[in-house]
């Protein structure tokens, strides 16, 4: 019996090592990137235009704003479609063949490789709809990638609203839509928002799809319209890391990596915090 106990302790110790390995991994990645990248970052780096010839004198404002614009575009397209689909699947749909096909589609879309979304975006938005390689085409492409994530998290948020909220509203004579709009959605808003923020932040970290549909390494102005090309942080990082001749390029790539990681972590941590606050406020 003692040996069994010893065996168990050893194995559980190994398990705990494996778990803390993930923590060490994250700390190492963040520490490595920050130690190399932070020295590059300055106010000039964040707020001035990229200088093509002397990379040390310019900044990344076009790439930073390009990513922000892209984020806005993705929210505009993916949030309404994602949330409405989730409302239909969670509140209206009966267990029919149609519903099952749509649910299966959503799960499968989440597994389609991002580069395949890029090819679809190129063939459909850029060429067939004639958007050209542009902010609009890239927003649409990343949106269809984000929709399945938003659907899934919205469904979870709607599921978490107790059924009695709906029954109470029906008992007072409200219709289904009135119930959903006044008594279900308000309680699911925080869950929907946090899920969507995480989805959008993931899309903004993607590089492969935007290579094909509109990102460019250098332009000396900010996009004027949705039909302009744009610069974006991940693509800027990629080119600096792999295709730039300047000996300092990789160091500057680390600087861009710090900005990108902070951008995404802040969005993620913000949504963790909202989720935590809301959860502790809920009384049911």
């Amino acid at each position: 019996m003692v040996t069994k106990q010893v065996q168990q302790s050893i194995i559980f110790f190994l398990f705990s090592l494996a778990s803390w390995f993930s923590v060490a991994l994250l700390l190492f990645i963040v520490a490595f990137v920050f130690s190399k990248g932070v020295p590059v970052i300055s106010w000039t780096f964040l707020t001035s235009f990229w200088s093509h010839l002397d990379i040390t004198s310019g900044g990344i404002i076009q790439a930073l704003l390009g990513t922000v614009y892209l984020g806005i575009g993705v929210i505009v397209f993916s949030l309404p479609i994602g949330v409405l689909t989730a409302i239909y699947l969670q509140e209206y749909a009966k267990d029919s063949l149609f519903t099952r096909i749509i649910s299966l589609t959503v799960r499968n879309l989440a597994g389609v490789p991002s580069i395949v979304y890029g090819m679809f975006g190129l063939a459909f938005f850029v060429l067939l709809l004639n958007f050209g390689t542009s902010l609009l085409a890239a927003s649409c492409t990343l949106s269809i990638m984000t929709i399945p994530w938003i659907i899934t998290s919205t469904q979870e948020a709607l599921k978490a609203v107790p059924f009695s909220f709906r029954e109470g509203s029906y008992a007072l004579g409200a219709t289904k839509w009135q119930t959903i709009r006044r008594n279900v959605l308000p309680h699911a808003t925080s869950g929907i928002l946090t899920g969507s923020i995480i989805g959008v932040s993931r899309a903004l970290g993607e590089t492969a799809p935007i290579i094909m549909v509109g990102a460019t390494f250098f332009m000396d102005y900010l996009p004027h319209s949705v039909f302009d090309k744009f610069m974006a942080l991940p693509y800027h990082l990629f080119i600096l890391a792999t295709q730039h001749a300047d000996p300092l390029a990789q160091t500057y790539a680390m600087g861009v990596a710090v900005v990108l990681i902070l951008f995404i972590f802040v969005l993620n941590l913000g949504s963790f915090y909202v989720r935590y606050r809301i959860r502790s406020m809920k009384k049911w």
Binding site: K4, I102, P113, M119, I147
Partner: protein, 302 residues
């Protein structure tokens, strides 16, 4: 009274309209999936009218820019994808499963609340950042350890992919393990088994199919991973034979070449054919994973 009736009727129309509207919106997802398949297929069609499927899938050499005799075989690219995918899986699986078991059955609540957000944060690191780390840190490190001229090879790419799929393996396996009825553990402990015996002989076998599904979904992610692989795998066109060789997986080939090809050329269509293979492969893997999960969920729903 009549006015009241009219109003209810109006409500009913509005309600019906909203329901139909929502249903129409939800069809968009289906249209996207079908659209992706159709556009890949239409654009790839030209290739299969010229090349036989065998030449395309089993040809060992991919050399679209060769003078005179361009070669369009993707076997080398397929092998690159498989090496990186299975290498990554082999590295991530032991760590991922141990972590999932630890989080579900051993760890205290406090430890869980530290480790779970950390894993979500790892999942949120953009792949291009991991690729950069691969170039700057990992591949020189690998080159030094094994005495290679360059560390940009299948091994480095596998390690980066392992980091990318670790969160997927952990979070899905943990969901499956935590969803097992607590009576399993209680009954086994009551019979005098230790916790480890219970995990090994009762809980793990019960969750086996769910864990298989987690592996499938991780596999799907690994096959489709592009940026990290593109930056670290070395991208040589030669047919790979060992993990120290540079490889050029399908995703990397598309990402490198699609910006340079003439739209509408044979090369362009050939890249869409690779995209189609990639899409069908991940679709199949995800579908199998999905079927396994839904079966598992039904088995223990009590």
């Amino acid at each position: 009274m009549r006015k009241h009736l009219v109003q209810t009727d109006c409500f009913r129309h509005k309600e019906e309209l909203i329901r139909v509207g929502l249903q129409v919106v939800s069809v968009v997802t289906l249209l996207i999936l079908v659209g992706i398949f159709l556009f890949l297929f239409i654009n790839a069609f030209d290739v299969f009218s010229t090349l036989s499927l065998k030449e395309f899938l089993l040809g060992r050499e991919w050399n679209p820019i060769a003078y005179g005799q361009p070669l369009w075989g993707i076997l080398g690219l397929l092998k690159g994808t498989f090496m990186v995918t299975f290498g990554g899986l082999l590295l991530a699986l032991p760590i991922g499963l141990s972590t999932a078991l630890y989080l579900s059955f051993v760890a205290s609540r406090k430890v869980r609340e530290i480790i779970k957000p950390v894993i979500e944060l790892i999942a949120s690191i953009p792949s291009v950042v991991l690729g950069l780390l691969g170039i700057v840190f990992l591949s020189p490190f690998i080159a030094q350890i094994f005495g290679l001229p360059s560390g940009l090879n299948a091994l480095s790419a596998s390690i980066v992919v392992a980091i990318m799929i670790l969160p997927t393996i952990i979070s899905i396996s943990e969901d499956v393990l935590s969803s097992l009825p607590s009576t399993f553990m209680e009954a086994s402990l009551a019979l005098g088994a230790t916790k480890w015996q219970t995990i090994k002989m009762v809980l793990f076998p019960a969750a086996r199919s769910g864990i298989l599904a987690a592996i499938m979904l991780a596999l799907g992610r690994a096959v489709g991973e592009t940026m990290a692989v593109l930056m670290v795998a070395g991208n040589a066109r030669a047919f790979p034979s060992s993990f120290f060789d540079p490889v050029r997986p399908m995703t990397a080939t598309i990402a490198i070449e699609i910006k340079e090809v003439v739209q509408g050329s044979f090369h362009y269509h050939a890249l869409f054919a690779i995209g189609l293979v990639l899409f069908l492969l991940t679709f199949l893997i995800n579908l199998i994973g999905d079927l396994i999960i839904s079966k598992q969920v039904k088995k223990y729903r009590w």
